[in-house]
């Protein structure tokens, strides 16, 4: 019988296959497989008479190279044996690794064994090997079977295709639609959190509300909180679309979010409690009637209006009125000058300068928080990508993050802001 050209000899079993000279197996791989015959599941012989020498072959309708499956789809394997088989004795091997817990059933009408590609806690480690560290949306997966017996509870992938060749199919590690939805969700999140970061006070201190939002300095506490929120959110969405598992949030991730959220909250509390130069500037400006950025805009508009009145040739002003307008313009300009001088030390000097320095320059307690956040954030992302799970940081490492944040809060009391 002519072999499909895509089959290649599988070295481990080529010798056995050649010895027994069995006909080729048919391997059918299909999507959404559920039939009444499967439900009935007729009585099967416990041991296929000639199974020791079987191989995998593609189904006639679905060539493996065109087949694309993902988690929770069904994979059927057609055997060339004439008799029924006990499907529960078969173990599916994907890329040479046994995947247990797939509850195979025998489809007598199509003469095949059907494996439901489900991920359970029991076989999560097996899937991790298969799905972890994805570099694309799909990957080629080679299929083989093993037979579990009482004497061999951990079978080898001995059931392969003709001449030991393993058929393969495209496994969609990240289904396109889910990938699009996840990208959209993460994109929206990033847009909400980071998209307006420069224009609004979402990541900024806002200690002096008189400063225009885009000139407000960035807050280390809020930045750290946003980093961990973004990492955990994106990781959760990534794992959900990959594994279809809503329970991937780890204790450690929650603790990291708690530490960062607590740090941001404590930082705000410290800022509110301590008597800082920014409070003095705020109080001083309030005494001048400048309570918010809106007031600054109003004063600028008042200057503009008065200048327009003075410049207007349509309505000539009396000398006294012109002098009064000039005085009012001067008064408002002086107010703005005081305003500018008061806020100058507190306006943003750029993202890194804001979060790494206080009024006295670079601050060690801030830089260490930044370094640890970057390091642990990187490890976190790598862990999610590589292991398909949020990393299980040791409590020592979490304590380190906590100490780092606590140090930042402690040093925030005396720091000049």
């Amino acid at each position: 019988m002519a072999l499909p050209s895509l089959f290649r000899p599988f070295p481990a079993v080529t010798a056995a296959a050649n010895r027994v000279k069995l006909p080729a197996f048919l391997l059918a791989l299909f999507w959404g497989f559920t039939t009444p015959a499967m439900a009935a599941c007729p009585a099967l012989t416990t041991t296929p008479a000639k199974l020791m020498a079987i191989s995998c072959l593609t189904d006639a309708q679905n060539k493996p190279e065109n087949l694309s499956l993902s988690l929770n789809n069904d994979l059927g394997v057609v055997l060339n044996t004439a008799s029924s088989v006990d499907a529960s004795t078969f173990v599916l091997f994907l890329n040479g690794r046994a995947v247990d817990g797939l509850d195979p059933i025998y489809d007598a009408s199509n003469h095949r064994i059907v494996f439901h590609l489900q991920r359970t806690p029991a076989n999560a480690a097996d899937w991790q090997t298969l799905l972890g560290a994805p570099t694309g949306l799909s990957k080629a997966v080679a299929v083989s079977l093993g037979v579990r017996t009482t004497t061999s509870p951990h079978p080898q992938p001995t059931v392969v295709g003709i001449n030991g060749i393993e058929p393969s199919f495209h496994f969609q590690t990240i289904p396109m639609i889910r990938f699009a939805l996840a990208t959209l969700a993460i994109g929206v999140m990033l847009l909400l959190v980071w998209g307006s970061a420069t224009r609004t006070t979402i990541l900024k201190d806002n200690l002096i509300p008189q400063i225009e939002p885009k000139r407000q300095p960035y807050s280390l506490g809020r930045w750290q909180m946003a980093v961990w929120f973004s990492l955990v959110f994106a990781s959760y969405v990534f794992l959900f679309i990959l594994l279809n598992d809503p329970n991937t949030l780890s204790e450690q991730a929650l603790m990291l979010m708690g530490i960062s959220g607590g740090t941001a909250l404590a930082a705000v509390t410290v800022d509110a409690a301590k008597d800082s130069p920014s409070h003095a500037a705020n109080a001083g400006l309030q005494l001048l009637g400048i309570k918010s950025w809106t007031d600054v805009v109003r004063i600028k508009a008042e200057i503009f209006d008065r200048e327009a009145q003075l410049a207007s040739k349509n309505v000539p002003l009396a000398k006294e009125a012109a002098a009064q307008l000039t005085l009012e313009i001067l008064d408002r300009r002086m107010k703005l000058r005081t305003y500018e001088e008061a806020i100058t030390p507190f306006v943003s000097g750029g993202w890194f300068a804001d979060i790494a320095t206080d009024l006295n320059g670079p601050a060690l307690h801030r830089i260490q928080v930044i370094c640890w956040t970057f390091l642990l954030g990187g490890i976190f992302l790598y862990g999610v990508w590589h292991d398909l799970a949020m990393p299980q940081f040791s409590y020592t490492l979490l304590a380190l993050m906590g100490i780092s944040s606590a140090g930042y809060i402690g040093f925030k009391y005396p720091e000049s802001q």
């Binding site: 008597d275 109080a283 001083g284 005494l287 000058r337």
Partner: protein, 468 residues
Amino acid sequence: MAAIEHVVVLMLENRSFDSMLGKLYPAGPNFNGLTGLEANSYGGQPLPVWTSGTMDADVASTPTPDPGELFTDMTFQLFGGPAGKAPPSMGGFVGNYMAQPAADRPFDPRSVLHYFTPEQVPIISTLAKAFGVCDQWHASAPCQTWPNRFFVHTGTALGYVNNSQFPIPFPAPSIFHQLQTAGRSWRVYFHDVPQSLLLRDIWLSAPLHYRFFDQFLVDANNGVLPNYSFIEPRYFTDTILREIPNDEHPPHNIMFGEQLIANVYNAVRNSPCWKKTLLIITCDEHGGCFDHAPPPNAIPPDSHNQEGFDFDRYGVRVPAVLVSPYIPAGSIIRAAPQGVPHDGPPYPFDHTSILATLSSLFNLAPLTARVRAAPNLLSALSLPLPINDGPKSITVTTPTTTTTTASNKAKLPPNHMQTNLARMAASLPVSAPTQITPEPIPMADVTPPTVAVAAANAIARVKSFLNL
């Protein structure tokens, strides 16, 4: 003659000699201080001078509210009524105080009779003992701040007795211009609104000579102090910098003034210029605080007069401490016989003694007749070599200024001095002029509602004028 090349003057506000240094030494022929028996009558009862045994913010702000300081107030304080030919009785302080318009808190008749012990004002007392104190230094006239400050700059007030009446700019020739013409260097170091900026003959060059106080510390440290440095204290509460006035003007907490004195002394003492520097610490006028020494008659600076006053009488004694390595420790410096009536020559020290000293040091002509008659301070520099180095540095603990404290003070209405400074600043051109017209500028009729508004506008205009 002592080789003095740098004169530094720190002029604070509104404290009398008795209130600050009256108990520096035991009163006697060698020190005209307080015996403790000095008193003013009020309600038929004698009220003696007194001190508080403790020192806190309330004590340091005594007298509160601010006593009267107009010319008519001072006349009453000195004479207990209209001015006469007889020597002042110094018996009207309490009566005038209690006759002031209602303030934000009740007037306590004893407030103006309060004095600080040396322990309560450790900085000025330490310097007075380590170097020299003048127990015979009078304000140049029984008038407000501006007339007396113009005396220290020009040797005259041109007949104006109150702050609010002066022409802007003030046209009398100043010591600054005189020094400049003579090729000598000078600078005014200020904190917020320099009153001396009213002097007409320095307007053209003011941006070159006016610097914030921090520059003084730098210049002293670098050994580049000018020949004449005049330091003006902070007159306004600065809410943004959380700075409380350090001018010692009642009811401002005097500990901030003590801190300023310490800062100035430490800078001068540790400057490469130290051996050639004379530091003078004084107040412009007594501000309604009691002093028992009647002001003697004085030489009128010129022919100007106002309200029947020819400027032929000194004002109340003010604290005056001289610091120099040429001054022996514990010096008590005076230039005229003690006692009343005294009608020189020789005359006692007054603010024009500073001008007389500068004239002597830098070979300048006396600006007015008062300056010509004034004793200079060089006689106090009696050591043959600059060997009295005094304390290496002095420190004082000042109250912590919180934002709330500063805000509360800045919410108050400005006092007379602050209001007039705000008006003066509002009258300044937006930038230093390139030429000066002879016509005076009318003083701007602004009435800032709070210290905060007054300070913000005044400081912004001063910076604009000085291009700072």
